[in-house]
């Protein structure tokens, strides 16, 4: 047989009536970080696919919320959904991301969601 055979509806069955990422609730290992923790975004290779923005790599941020559990985008986009991890909402000072950002707006921030395997304590 030249065509692959697998249950292509496995995700639909799992998520129907529950939603995604709600259907992965409880599947992640214990969270490594908590609200208020300072984290740095790892500069991991982004070959083929990522949703962790290049401009965040190596920058420091503060965890504001543990938002949900999900496979990371890199895995889920090939339908690999076994390895679930926590996603964190983290906030950056604009000046941390863009060194030339005007001092007039020094309190500006940007907040985004990052999966746990991209974070390290700092």
């Amino acid at each position: 047989m030249s065509k692959p055979h697998y249950d292509r509806e496995h995700h639909v069955k799992k998520a129907s009536g529950i939603g995604d990422p709600q259907c992965f609730k409880g599947e992640a290992p214990e969270a490594m970080f908590k609200v208020g923790d300072k984290v740095r975004i790892k500069d991991l290779p982004d070959l083929f696919y990522t949703r962790t923005q290049g401009y965040t790599r190596g920058a420091e941020a503060t965890v504001t919320e543990l938002v949900y559990e999900s496979p990371p985008a890199e895995d889920e986009s090939w339908d690999n959904t076994e390895n679930v991890e926590w996603f964190y909402s983290v906030v950056f000072d604009m000046k941390e991301l863009w060194p030339d950002y005007p001092d007039t707006f020094s309190s500006d921030t940007v907040e985004t969601e990052i999966p746990e395997h991209y974070l390290e304590a700092c």
Binding site: R8, V12, E76
Partner: protein
């Protein structure tokens, strides 16, 4: 005077020659030592990761979605419902796998539609020749 099909070919070659290259540097058939790690990363990065790139501003226009755009959206959602892809695979395919030229060059739902056709071929639900024949058949209606 060239026959119409040859005129179309010549116009095509003229357009593709002008499409924006990935980098504004000499890019054709580089020798391996011309691609350092930084250039490798630039070429292979996810095309949708544009944050921080210098660019000109885009004019904001309030615009209703067209019927074909709604139909495209529904088709793609039904493909997910039937297990052909999940939302993340759809995004990877329509934002990254298409490459930078198409990512920047085609309308938003144009990329959705192109990608819907592509995954049906990639996952062997239809064959490339079936798609070719169908597109040719539909095109004939407008000739």
């Amino acid at each position: 005077m060239l026959p119409p099909v040859r005129q179309k070919v010549m116009r095509h070659l003229n357009i593709v020659g002008q499409l924006q290259p990935a980098l504004h540097e000499q890019t054709h058939a580089p020798s391996p030592d011309m691609i350092d790690n930084a250039h490798f990363r630039a070429y292979t990065r996810s095309a949708h990761d544009v944050g921080g790139e210098a660019d000109i501003s885009i004019t904001w226009e309030e615009k209703e979605e067209e019927v074909w755009e709604h139909n495209t959206f529904v088709t793609c959602e039904v493909l997910a419902w039937r297990g052909v892809w999940n939302a993340e695979e759809r995004r990877r395919r329509q934002n990254v796998e298409v490459g930078q030229t198409i990512y920047l060059g085609l309308p938003y739902y144009g990329r959705w539609l192109l990608t819907a056709a592509k995954i049906l071929v990639d996952k062997q639900f239809i064959t490339a020749t079936e798609l070719q024949e169908k597109v040719a058949e539909v095109r004939k209606r407008y000739e």
